[in-house]
């Protein structure tokens, strides 16, 4: 990559490949960060979509493979591995989820496995895929979908929708709004309650997505910084420990995203006085 300065190299690496309508009216990939911003809402981050769907399909394929040949008597290695993940998710759901909802288990498993796989792309050396895609004529390429706020918000807002849906379904419209209006201080302080509860409700999807995004973006940025600032012959001295540490981070972030989803949806299923 012909980057003239470290600053340019870094900003190049944190820019998504955005497809949209350019200033001159033609459609194509944005060639600079400014151009991408100018495209506004009607644009798509092609790299985010590609890698997230690729990892999502990988998850579906891997787990479906285990599900198709699921054997009660003689589980193979892959089946045992998948079963371990599934058991872990199922135990978490059983421990943290109060209601009875058949969606929560598979939802949590999808979140955990998908977020984990998307995060896992972070361990691919920062220049491998961008170099290849640059040779193919693509100006930018970010492999880690979870370092794009669109991806994390896409998930957290879907979960937010489910929270509201189940809140209303379980408690009724009155119950749901009542919890917002009368909860911490009783009926006399309705405006205060409403303000507090609305903030705490809205903060949930926001914190959920920004936590994942922040952690992954920071991790990715450290890799990029190492690649940009450290001489290539001692990069491994810094990059390897960080990568090893990052194995923990990506797993932990996937787990946290899953656990918080379970907890938030559990709160939507709880009846009024339980917290």
């Amino acid at each position: 990559m012909a980057a003239s300065s470290p600053a340019e190299y870094i900003s190049h690496h944190i820019q998504n490949l955005t497809f949209g309508e350019r200033a001159d009216g033609t459609w194509g990939f944005a060639q600079s960060a400014k151009e991408a911003t100018d495209m506004g809402f009607m644009a798509v981050n092609v790299d985010t979509m590609f890698w997230s769907i690729a990892t999502g399909l990988l998850f579906c394929w891997l787990f479906r493979k285990a599900a198709v040949s699921a054997s009660v008597q003689t589980p193979g290695r892959w089946q045992s591995c998948v079963e371990m993940v599934l058991e872990m998710v199922n135990t978490s759901v059983k421990d943290a989820f109060v209601g009875n909802n058949a969606l929560i288990g598979p939802l949590s498993l999808t979140i955990f496995a998908w977020v984990f796989l998307m995060n896992l792309m972070d361990l691919v050396p920062v220049d491998f895929i961008p170099q290849i895609s640059h040779a193919l004529g693509l100006p930018f390429m970010k492999m880690v979908s979870t370092t794009d706020v669109n991806a994390t918000f896409g998930m957290s807002l879907s979960i937010f929708g489910l929270m509201i849906y189940y809140g209303i379904k379980i408690k009724g419209v009155g119950g749901f709004l009542g919890e917002l209006a009368f909860h911490p201080f009783g009926k006399a302080f309705l405006p205060v309650n409403l303000a507090l509860e609305t903030v705490s409700l809205v903060a949930k999807p926001l914190s959920l997505s920004l936590r994942l995004f922040g952690n992954m973006f920071a991790g990715e940025l450290v890799f990029v910084l190492i690649a940009a600032l450290v001489p290539f012959y001692i990069q491994w001295l810094v990059a390897v420990p960080w990568a090893i540490f990052h194995i923990l981070v990506i797993t932990l972030q996937a787990y946290i995203f899953m656990m918080l989803t379970i907890v938030y949806l559990s709160q939507s299923h709880e009846t009024h006085d339980s917290h």
Binding site: N16, T18, G20, A36, T37, M39, G40, F41, M42, A43, V44, N45, T48, M49, S52, I53, G56, F59, C60, F63, R64, A66, A67, V68, A70, S71, V72, Q73, P75, Q79, V82, E83, L86, E87, N90, A102, L103, G105, P106, L107, L109, T110, W114, S145, D148, V149, N150, A151, F153, G154, M155, L157, S158
Partner: protein, 156 residues
């Protein structure tokens, strides 16, 4: 860092992956897990039952062996008793037989003695008569002195 259509695209992808997982991944694997759990539990229960049965059978065998030993002991005691009885009976019979033989022998001895005595008596009477005849130098009329002779015979 731009919010754009990717957001909606991601939400749709997320929904599709979740749907796939709900429909095709979660149920078969969870079913396999749960069924294996039940089978293992059943297997363990069966093993425990088998062990219990084995213990019961061992107990029963011990009981039967003990009964056999007791009965054998009983047989031995009974046969000893019976043997003693038979010996006693034999002894008794032998003693009775001996007594009977003794009594018979005594009877015969008495009889023979009496017979001998009778013959001796007669002989003595004749000898006495002969002696008296010689002493008297004359014939003694046996008929005339029958009374004396009989008295003499009785005295001998």
């Amino acid at each position: 860092m731009n919010i754009n259509l990717t957001l909606i695209g991601q939400a749709i992808s997320f929904a599709i992956f979740v749907w796939f997982c709900v429909k095709y991944v979660w149920p078969p694997i969870l079913n396999a897990l749960e069924e294996r759990e039940t089978r293992i539990a059943d297997g363990l229960a069966a093993a425990e039952k088998g062990q219990q049965d084995l213990a019961n059978a061992a107990h029963k065998v011990e009981d039967i062996l003990q009964e056999g030993r007791d009965r054998a002991q009983e047989f031995v005691v009974q046969s000893q008793k019976r043997a003693e009885e038979i010996i006693d009976q034999a002894k008794q019979a032998a003693i009775e037989e001996g007594d009977r033989a003794l009594v018979a022998a005594r009877g015969r001895i008495d009889q023979e003695r009496n017979e001998a005595r009778e013959s001796l008596r007669s002989e003595v009477a004749v000898l006495a008569l002969n002696g008296a005849e010689q002493i008297l130098m004359r014939e003694v009329d046996a008929t005339a002195h029958r009374e004396v002779l009989d008295k003499l015979v009785a005295e001998i």
